[in-house]
């Protein structure tokens, strides 16, 4: 349940530097953030402020240059690449702005992907994938490929894929960035519904409606977090 003392991920004084040619670019300059179980947190800020970088660090997709990120009590900096991949597979659901669905797979096969990687048996993963697609309202689109689905439907498939392994945290990076206003509202409603069911969500967004629909909001400006 949501509340203090039940943190899923804690980031403290996190910095992240990138190299562009010979120039070092500091994307984050000491960001702090705690995500509690049951949170629905919106991370806002202008383009290039470091929202995506912060999400990648929270989910262990990337590693901080300095500072610490602890996920369910584990220091992500101490994990190997493969250990972080295994953690993400089971505990983190990722939703991307451009969906990144596998184009040759059907909706249900896309949702099965993380389940297969987690070595869930064929029959069980098919049942679980179907169930989670039904949960996001796509029970009638199981056998459709991404090219046969609308943008909103593709994003719902991507959300279903993120939920497939029943993760502790779902991270969505600009999930409505490619969607029209009406579809964006439906995605927000879906997030709210999932959160009400106990899913912890962190959403990086420019979309003010989406940000307003979250329970909590922080802003990233020039690589630092502001409540």
């Amino acid at each position: 349940m949501r509340g203090a003392g039940n943190p899923i991920v804690v980031a403290r004084r996190v910095t992240r530097d990138y190299w562009k040619g010979r120039a070092r670019v500091r994307a984050l300059r000491g960001a702090d953030l705690t995500v509690e179980k049951g949170d629905f947190l919106a991370v806002t800020g202008p383009s290039g402020s470091g929202k995506s970088t912060l999400l990648h660090l929270l989910g262990g997709v990337d590693v901080a240059t300095s500072g610490g990120v602890h996920f369910l009590g584990r220091d992500l900096a101490r994990l190997t690449v493969e250990e972080r991949a295994a953690l993400r597979l089971r505990e983190v659901g990722l939703v991307f702005q451009r969906f990144h669905l596998l184009p040759m797979l059907t909706a249900i096969e896309n949702v099965e992907l993380p389940l297969a990687a987690a070595r869930v048996g064929r029959r069980e993963r098919r049942a679980r994938a179907a169930a989670v697609l039904e949960r996001v309202g796509l029970a009638d689109r199981l056998r459709h490929r991404p090219s046969e689905l609308s943008g909103g439907q593709c994003q719902r498939v991507a959300i279903a894929r993120a939920l497939a392994n029943d993760p502790a945290l779902v991270l969505a990076d600009e999930p409505t960035g490619e969607l029209d206003r009406a579809t964006s509202r439906r995605v927000l409603a879906l997030f709210q519904e999932l959160n009400a069911d106990g899913t912890t969500l962190v959403v990086a967004t420019h979309d003010l409606d989406l940000a307003a629909g979250a329970h909590r909001r922080i802003e990233v400006v020039d690589g630092t977090t502001r409540p």
């Binding site: 995506s52 597979l89 596998l102 040759m104 297969a116 990687a117």
Partner: protein, 398 residues
């Protein structure tokens, strides 16, 4: 099949032209590689089988030559044969005299078949049928000749017809001539495509040629339970200035002479394999670079690097499996065509095959192509999974 691999396989079907061209390229490379592997060992194998099929394990020839190599002869044969027959393990000695002759149908032969022909004549012991397979009639007795079945057809002669045989290059030239009866027709196993030999009794050919007591070579049969190499050494010890070789020795010498073919085969085979690997590597690199965003997303989701590499490499392997399979079929067809061209090569028996269809060679070619394709596909796949995920997620479109 793994979910990711399923996507890879469907990608191949989704791009039929690219897939078809790649498969065609792999098929051609595989066919060439398989043919070169078969060419490398085909001649030696088929020639060895041909030699063994006649039942004589040793050959005695003038020093430094092989049977049918030159017109050099071994003088004083009768005495030499006695010494050879005295060697333990020698079961039978079959001397052969080979020389060029001219043959023509005698005046009472069929109309239109009277032209003189230059051909090879072999003089042999009437009991020795090691050089031919009888087709019609009987082997040659005294005053008789056995004619190559193709020559018989070409000249329109068969058993009981009469031929004139001359030792010179024509009947108008200075030479000896004999009138002989055709005893039968046969297929000469060591004849080249252009040779259409005739066989006479050894005594008759020696008398006709004036090469009394001389032979070109002899075939030696080794008795059961004797080691051919030991018998060869025994003959060499008593025979003096002659060449005594086993069938394996003949094969080895032929192999030395044909090393050019083997070298060409090795070079062309290696080039084929390299081209196949290059093709698969290029196609995989293009295919992977088109999917960098997807690969980054799959990695971000938490799918292990090894699994992604394995599934991407599977795409290369499938291309090689399909292309290689077609290539093996193509190799058989191309081998048949090349065989028809190379079988006319002078100096080699027509029965020798350049391309012997050997499952081992075909499977080796297939395996090598799949292996090289897998390795070639592995490189771009490994590189893709080592790129930075975070930048790719934003750079690539799915």
């Amino acid at each position: 099949m793994a979910v990711l691999a399923r996507n890879s396989i469907r990608e191949l079907r989704h791009r039929p032209l690219r897939t078809a061209l790649t498969v065609a390229g792999v098929a051609i490379s595989t066919a060439m590689l398989a043919d070169m592997l078969m060419l490398g060992g085909g001649i030696q194998q088929s020639f060895g089988e041909l030699l063994e099929s006649r039942g004589y394990e040793l050959r005695v020839a003038p020093k430094g030559t092989l049977p049918f190599d030159t017109e050099a002869t071994i003088p004083g044969w009768t005495a030499l044969q006695e010494r050879i027959e005295g060697v333990g393990g020698v079961e039978r000695v079959a001397p052969v005299l080979a020389m060029s002759v001219s043959v023509e149908v005698e005046a009472d032969g069929p109309e239109g078949s009277r032209g003189a022909r230059r051909t090879l004549a072999v003089g042999l012991d009437p009991e020795n049928r090691g050089l031919y397979v009888l087709v019609r009639g009987d082997g040659p007795g005294a005053g008789e000749v056995l004619v190559d079945s193709r020559l018989g057809e070409a000249m329109g002669v068969g058993p009981d017809d009469r031929l004139r045989v001359a030792t010179a290059s024509g009947f108008d030239a200075w030479g000896r001539t004999a009138s002989v009866r055709v005893s039968g027709t046969g297929d000469f196993v060591f004849a080249t495509v252009r040779d259409m030999p005739v066989a006479l009794p050894l005594d008759d050919l020696q008398a006709l040629s004036g090469l009394d007591d001389q032979v070109s070579f002899a075939m030696i049969r080794v008795g059961d339970g004797y080691d051919a190499e030991a018998v060869r050494a025994g003959i060499a010890a008593v025979a003096g200035r002659v060449e005594v070789v086993t069938l394996a020795g003949i094969s080895d010498r032929l192999d030395e002479r044909l090393s050019y073919f083997r070298q060409v085969a090795v070079i062309l085979g290696s080039v084929s394999l390299f081209v196949a690997a290059l093709l698969i590597g290029t196609i995989t690199a293009v295919s992977v670079s088109e999917r960098l965003g997807i690969i980054a997303a799959v990695r971000a989701i938490g799918v292990g690097r090894r699994r992604i590499v394995a599934d991407l490499t599977l795409e290369s392997v499938v291309l090689c499996l399909v292309g290689g399979g077609i290539g093996i079929g193509l190799a058989v067809v191309v081998a048949g065509y090349l065989e028809s061209i190379l079988s006319g090569l002078p100096g080699l028996p027509a029965a020798v095959r350049f391309f012997v269809l050997r499952p081992g060679s075909l499977m080796t070619a297939y395996g090598l192509v799949i292996l090289s394709g897998a390795v070639a596909g592995l490189v771009p796949s490994l590189r893709a999974t080592r790129l930075e995920v975070t930048s790719l997620l934003h750079r690539e479109e799915p």
